[in-house]
Symmetry: C3
Subunit: 335 residues, 3 copies
């Protein structure tokens, strides 16, 4: 694996076209924090498969168009080369493209929207990075903000129509219902779809491709993704969330990202870090439910906002989790 | 008083158990900015009394459980010892516990919620402190954010039901009504309940216990609390707010906190500081009414968000209120 | 022109009253970033004319009262003299006054509100400036925040009634309609009113006075205002926005401000800056539509929030647009 990547890197160094391809693949991998073109290929396969089986091939096309536009915009804005080459200016763009084509009906203006959104996501990426630099990365906040604004605006534009947008209503108490209890198979499906919904896909095969993409780059990331998905599904089940949301992975994709981000962002994993990540993952499920509710009056989806909010909250005090020295190791447990 | 506190401090220094008790009492006192265990005892008495007469003893228990969980979490996260001993990592926790048990129906999941919320409030405290360090403290923002998310989420969870949550609706103009004008006795009740509602209690006796708790630590804090409550009730009355809200203290608890924070946070009180604090207190009443309205579609209470917002706004430019030197004293009045 | 301003400046230096008049005129000019008393006079004429023809003379009076109160408050808070003399502490105040008198019914409490809002806008200006200093100015955020809170609060106050506030509703999809296509004359009107709506006026004559006010201070600012208005109207038309909103200038006033801010804030204008500003201007139209929708449940207007949000987003990464040196000039075009 290392050898393949090394010879690919030397090919890219000698060809502008291959370098640009490499940047776009890494951008796709960066949606789950992997700076790796192989991961990007597997993720792209997951996107293509998920779009194909759902009968919406335009979604995959919009994603690819958006990542290319994002990276061209980043080049034009003369971002620093290292970040550009690592795919850091493209991962929000591909999500903008996938989300717009998922939630809006096809049409000429949709493509204007995709190009516009991809370009703006780079500006928002630069802006957010400058603000949050002291404590962490921009995460997918540029995707969330740009897409929210573009989707909200369509309610005032007759040229763009919703296709799969939630309908607006005021907040009302959840009506508990007499459902057959969830089977183990339901929970397993919820776990897989929690992973594929990171790319707005509901497909177990896409989830396996995504896990493979993570594994080729980082086994630890794949493990935390899986662990996060399981914990999210169980938490949602414990609190009595709606079965459709659990099985569809719609309460789990943000927690999956939280688990990868917090569990693999610290240099020396430890039981303390695992416990801290678990707390954050559980709270991301709560926050997902909360933002689903809070966005009801606006008739837009929460996207990955719960992941961004909780991960920022749990990254800000991160100095508290630096590897304990031998001296303080005894103090690890609470009194 | 000084002597009692000094011998108590030496007892705590020699016993881990007493120290932990001391930390939790100071945490309760810090809800109103008092780093004083006696204040904590009197505040705890107010909470217990208010919960007892309202027939909700579980609220007081949830508050005590939450403050203990918060301080254990803070210890586990290895926060700095000085802040921990001053109770700075527990005052948001107790408010989370009181609010969850006040607004949600009792049940096993409520206690899961209280423990989870208390633990997360410490992370949010660390996060907020890091962000706002340049200009002030975290205030009760960790309480507000954590509780909002937990309450919003319940609308998607059948396992947790609201007990005293507001019902959602879109914003509609206030219908003026032919009420008998407020009597002086109503205004007096509004003033007292404005103080007790800081701890989500509607009890004049609790208010007196809270004022006593403030007075043993700082006469100035007690005076600003009382003055803030009077100003808030009069302002709300002037603008024609709903009588029930005024009399119930529901427009006054945030202004009370604003008055204590701004009026006693500056080293050398002066008429300029009093005037500035009065402006902020009046604007907190406006902001309370505004957030009550803004949160209507979400069916959650504003909690102390108006206090946090206005106090941050008025703390940010605080260099303008540093004690005037003799030379510039003449320029104190506007032209 | 230069000579008139120079002799005016020397007059002001010798008279406190004239200096204070100068400060208030510059404050009015600063709404569109012009530190120029002549601009202020022409802008004031535009406000007076627009209020007169709309039959709401109290709006102009509220604006003047508010700018005076703001500058007195700033003086009392001992802000730095240079910023005070440049009018930086008054431009939010005048907008608060104009907006409150436009959206609320006349009455004694309206004037209390105007004075209170004008005073608070200075505190929010100081607070915001301290937060955003690293990357830009406060823009009209103090106006937006202060006015939002004051307007929202009225829904809980029987003493203050709305006059022209939007009515609240949940978000529903825009109903496309069979309208006669917009004529060139409609687009021209939309362009002019986009400029006058910066001061909440719907008057082409006011727009011409505003353009004249810009031109005496900066031809470039006048050109970007006009260009921004044209681009905004065309963008809104392309996406199928409601004709009434386009013709009334209600989707264009924020983009006009974005165009002036970004197009004339960089020292050495270039085609790159023009392209960047155009992207931001188009995205401000989207954001205006988005915030119009997002604020529907709250029944308050978006004011200039879209301008503030987009301009901050596009200012934050501004180092990317510093004038290219001769060496890097070749890299200006994307690959």
């Amino acid at each position: 694996m290392e050898k393949i990547l090394a010879s690919w890197e030397s090919l890219c160094a000698s060809s502008g076209g291959l370098r640009f391809l490499d940047i776009n693949l890494r951008s796709i991998g960066q949606v789950m924090f992997q700076d790796n073109p192989l991961t990007g290929i597997l993720f792209l396969a997951a996107i293509a498969w998920g779009s194909y089986v759902a009968g919406v091939p335009q979604v995959a096309i919009a994603g690819v168009l958006a990542v290319v536009v994002s990276n061209l915009t980043a080049h034009w804005l003369r971002v620093d080369t290292e970040s550009l080459h690592s795919g850091l200016y493209g991962f929000n763009g591909i999500l903008v493209g996938l989300a717009l084509a998922t939630f809006l009906a096809p049409g000429a203006l949709l493509w204007v929207y995709v190009i516009l959104g991809a370009a703006v996501s780079v500006v928002v990426m630069l802006a957010t990075t400058n603000v949050v630099k002291p404590w962490g990365g921009a995460l997918t906040f540029p995707f969330v903000l740009t897409t929210w604004l573009l989707l909200l605006a369509t309610y005032g534009f007759s040229g763009l129509a919703g296709r799969a947008l939630p309908s607006g209503s005021i907040v009302t108490a959840f009506q508990p219902y007499q459902a057959s209890p969830l089977q183990l198979i339901d929970l397993a499906q919820g776990m897989f779809l929690s992973i594929s919904q990171v790319f707005l896909k509901a497909s177990a095969i896409a989830a396996l491709l995504l896990l493979a993409g993570l594994a080729v780059s980082s086994l630890s990331a794949a493990a935390f993704a899986l662990g996060g998905a399981i914990l999210a599904v169980l938490t949602a089940h414990l609190f009595g969330a709606e079965s459709d949301l659990i099985i569809g992975g719609l309460l789990g994709f943000s927690p999956v990202l939280t688990a990868i981000a917090l569990g693999t962002v610290f240099y020396q994993p430890s039981w303390r870090v695992v416990a801290y990540t678990a707390l954050a993952t559980v709270f991301t499920v709560i926050t997902q439910s909360a933002l689903n509710v809070a966005l009801t009056p606006f008739a837009i989806p929460a996207l990955t906002a719960p992941f961004v909010l909780v991960t920022w909250l749990f990254l800000l005090p991160r100095q508290r989790l630096e590897p304990a020295s031998a001296v303080t190791r005894d103090a690890e447990k609470p009194a």
